[in-house]
Symmetry: C2
Subunit: 330 residues, 2 copies
Amino acid sequence: MPATLDIAIVGATGRVGETLVEVLEERNFPVGNLHVLASLESAGKSLPFRGKNLRVREVDAFDFSQVGLVFFAAAPATTLAFAPRARQAGCAIIDLAGALDAPAIVPEANASAFATREAISPCSPVVALAVALAPLRALLAPQRLTVTACMAVSSAGREGVQELARQTAELLNARPLEPQHFDRQVAFNLLAQVGKPDAVGHLALERRIDEQLREVLELPLLEVAATCIQVPVFFGDSLTVSLVNEGDVDIGQINQLLASAPGLELVEEAGDYPTPVGDAVGQDVVYAGRLRPALRGEREVNLWLTLDNVRKGAALNAVQIAELLIKDLA
Amino acid sequence: MPATLDIAIVGATGRVGETLVEVLEERNFPVGNLHVLASLESAGKSLPFRGKNLRVREVDAFDFSQVGLVFFAAAPATTLAFAPRARQAGCAIIDLAGALDAPAIVPEANASAFATREAISPCSPVVALAVALAPLRALLAPQRLTVTACMAVSSAGREGVQELARQTAELLNARPLEPQHFDRQVAFNLLAQVGKPDAVGHLALERRIDEQLREVLELPLLEVAATCIQVPVFFGDSLTVSLVNEGDVDIGQINQLLASAPGLELVEEAGDYPTPVGDAVGQDVVYAGRLRPALRGEREVNLWLTLDNVRKGAALNAVQIAELLIKDLA
């Protein structure tokens, strides 16, 4: 095992990129040199890491042969543009945009699928669902999963956060509201979609949830019905989950499995439940609550999940994948 | 047919009660005398009706034999306390709290079930689902319905609305937040439940959705999985809906039926969708959008619904039931 690994982060000035730097430090990841890269506009900024300030450099001028691992926390187009260079330089790649053709990994669910030197850290709803459902595979044969994913504005990056803050302030001051980043008012409102639907009516995010979740859970035949809506929450994605099993379910056994599941915090106390603001934000675990059977029928289990979309939903999960890589290199 | 009907509204100073008064006027309902009743604290206030001010009187002192119809827009306990008096006085009763043992009616779905002189106007999510799904019964044999109902704070009455406004202002002014009406911060947050769950984990509202919906749609065997969450939206309930049919579905035919469904406005344009703030609030119809098939499989239809929870979700639906009663009396 190399004592340390030299690392580059492409898209380092976005919120996920910044959190990657924080998480690498927090988890004492054996980083040698850390190169923080971004587009020309962001070059020259600096990011704190281990008591020093790292200067952000332009990705286009970077020589990838200097590093062994690259995190792509940029837009899909940027990832597609620069990944070939990183690959040619022999780097391992962890793609947080889901742009590349590589296995999607959530270490709590499919660590053993990490066999190549490239991996995708899947979208935040898939991380939440994988952490919560992976331990149930020992007990259940999940047939159908219906999910409503309530996406925080931060999943649209800094612009999303600024837009909700600006809209809220304007409304409270009775000023006219002109939506900029989102296509309409998101403050005190719900938007029925996140991004544009395709011709059939599905969102790219809904398709990604279906594909990545079946892959990560290694349940290729699971029927996934996902709806993604945009909610006026700054940080923390939340999901309502309804799972239909092939046979009858035993909620007591499911409770036991979830209570000891890695990466999951099950709120069990009667009447209590986790929320994005009160629990998930800033935390490493996925929170689960409202575990309950169907109103009628015996084959169903219902659940509420919430997680920090920037942290476990993106940066932390990517660093956990890098920890698998380090183990692999050992 | 009597030229006019004398009417009492119990709970007239709540937002639903006030909207009842407005809707009766707007729809030219043949009201003779209108008595607006409330608890002792609200007595003495006044409500505008047909250019006059109606003085709010105390319900406890009211002689129900003066009227032919009573709307109960009060808490279940108040409804249970005063309904026997109204019944004994020979009044027809429309219960907006779902407290009484009477048929639940959504005129677009089961007008013909209105055979007695008492009826329940069901909860807002059931009104939305009934208006949207009733026309599909001609085409489909719905087997399973999974719903996430995103409830506006106004479903908790004026206190809910004031609490979201107060919390938002305090957060924007960086003042400490102490939740009062809700059990925690609802501004920029999602609460995983509306009210307290029972021992098994279900909410009263989730049970009511299951029971009332099967009744109103006359589909007693429909499997309903409902999750109700509290969202930081002032007015307008929204629902994500996933329906599994016994056989294959034809989205084109469903689109056609919904486009001409009474009480429903289907947003069909590609990429467009209705929102509570932008569309539903203040309107009489239920808005539908994001109509789409399953990602894989042929037996599923997905849909987004949003409606004014105070208006069509409560007051307007109750007045529509009263219009059936008037027809009956004719």
